[in-house]
């Protein structure tokens, strides 16, 4: 599973990094910094939490 972050949508609210800290990290400006990262199976559930809490709908997961 791969995380796709739409940089144009991400506003740096940081919800993903708070609620699913093992998957999502932020860059210095507070924007989601894991675009393209491969998610190991044991973290897939946590990755989904990040998708759900993002107020900007900026995160998607691809197989």
């Amino acid at each position: 599973m791969i995380v796709k972050v739409d940089a144009a949508r991400c506003q740096g609210h940081g919800r993903c990094a708070v609620e699913a800290a093992r998957v999502y990290t932020l860059d210095a400006e507070g924007h989601c910094a894991v675009n393209g990262r491969t998610i190991p199976p044991e973290l897939e559930e946590e990755a989904r939490i990040g998708v759900e809490v993002c107020p900007e709908r900026a995160i998607a997961l691809e197989p």
């Binding site: 506003q11 740096g12 940081g14 990094a17 708070v18 400006e29 507070g30 993002c54 107020p55 900007e56």
Partner: protein, 399 residues
């Protein structure tokens, strides 16, 4: 109800089917229960409608409409034509420089580091009322907790708390933007000396951080300091108070959920999330910059919008059975707005509510509304609980 309003407050480009007379501050529909009133409003009026009140303005109450508006600052400007508060009243690209100054102070990391401070103040306030068996929750708990925390963060003297709160509540109840502006001037009479002092002698607080920040090669002017502080004070010294009060009011009426949270405190964060949605308190404004067709509505340059976030968070298309309190809903709430202006203080608000609710349930036995003193609330740009009298086990109502 529409009799008192002549057609001149409904411009020619607004079709009759889009007009619904709604007073954002004093509508009868919002009595006695603000949020139940909004659920009714959602049935009576379309997702975007025009009210002749306060000189005439649009109201967006649908989730998707609000989401789109907050993501289109070229058409829907945050600049309201009056004094532009910083950063909420400034559009990109300038907005970014202004907001950046505040990011550190409200980041999850900074806020999380305040956990113990908030917890100790929360327990102190709760312990003051615990043995009594009753309290007026707003003045004794939900007001002092976030207001003291935030005034200290900002660098405002605590003696200002009562008079400043009074002016802020007046400002946020006012539906007329011009009259509201006058109440901001009153606030500045109180705040100006603090601004001058921090500009001259910066301390370790947010005001000083703004005063010494790099705004593209220059420092903030006095006028900019005023506009920053007005936003911080009016957004930060009221909203969390009411979020806490509405959540606690709900629990006083919902003994099942209260028992469930006592039995499993790990559910408190999910409950807080749902209270944020079910009882959103803040609405925000936008102004249309050019003639525009939006979701089958014709808009003209200069049209004003109120984004009724407390109604949008009750949108049944996004949150099925919106009046019910359901933990772990699928979609995040739009309570804090969306887009570049989304609430900067949401991490702080969330932490404060989680701590307060956790400690309250741990220290106070099963509580309910005092039957002799009904709670009171009022509408406006921020939905406000005026009084919330609670009793807990073994206590009798006192006159």
């Amino acid at each position: 109800m529409s009799v008192a309003h002549s057609s001149e407050t409904v411009p020619a480009h607004v079709p009759t089917g889009r007009v619904y007379d709604f007073d954002i501050s004093h509508d009868p529909l919002l009595k006695p229960d603000l949020h139940l009133g909004l659920l009714e409003l959602r049935k009576r009026a379309p997702e975007i409608f025009y009210t002749p009140r306060y000189g005439g303005h649009w109201i967006a109450q649908g989730h998707d409409a609000v989401f789109e508006i907050t993501h289109n600052h070229e058409v829907f400007s945050s600049f309201q034509g009056l004094r532009a508060m910083i950063p909420i009243g400034v559009d990109p690209p300038q907005h970014e420089d202004y907001r950046r100054v505040l990011l550190h102070a409200f980041s999850p990391r900074t806020v999380t580091a305040m956990t113990e401070t908030i917890k100790s103040l929360a327990t102190e306030l709760i312990d003051q009322v615990a043995a009594r068996g009753s309290c007026e929750f707003v003045s004794e708990v939900s007001e002092p907790l976030p207001v003291i925390v935030f005034m200290k963060m900002l660098g405002l003297p605590l003696e200002m708390m009562a008079p400043l709160r009074k002016l802020i509540i007046t400002a946020l109840e006012e539906g007329d933007p011009v009259k509201r502006e006058a109440t901001f001037d009153e606030q500045l009479v109180m705040l100006d000396p603090v601004i001058r002092e921090r500009m001259a002698n910066p301390q370790d607080d947010i005001l000083s951080r703004i005063a010494t920040a790099d705004l593209g090669g220059r420092r903030a002017t006095f006028d900019e300091m005023q506009r920053y502080l007005l936003l911080l004070a009016n957004a930060g010294l009221d909203t969390v108070v009411n979020a806490m009060s509405f959540a606690t009011l709900h629990l006083a009426n919902d003994q099942d959920l209260q028992a469930k949270l006592r039995a499993d405190p790990a559910l408190v964060p999910d409950a807080i999330e749902e209270f944020f949605r079910r009882y959103a308190v803040s609405s925000i404004g936008r102004r249309v910059t050019r003639d525009f067709e939006f979701r089958d509505v014709t808009l003209k340059a200069g049209d004003r919008f109120i984004l009724l976030l407390p109604a949008a968070s009750l949108d049944e298309n996004v949150h099925p059975d919106p009046g019910a309190v359901v933990l772990n809903r699928e979609n995040p709430p739009i309570t804090f707005g969306a887009g570049v202006h989304r609430c900067l203080g949401s991490h702080l608000a969330r932490l404060e509510l989680r701590i307060l609710m956790g400690e309250w349930l741990r220290r106070i036995p099963t509580f309910r509304l005092d039957p002799a003193k009904a709670p009171r609330s009022h509408a406006g740009l921020v939905y406000t609980v005026d009084h919330l009298n609670l009793l807990w086990d073994g206590a009798e109502s006192k006159p």
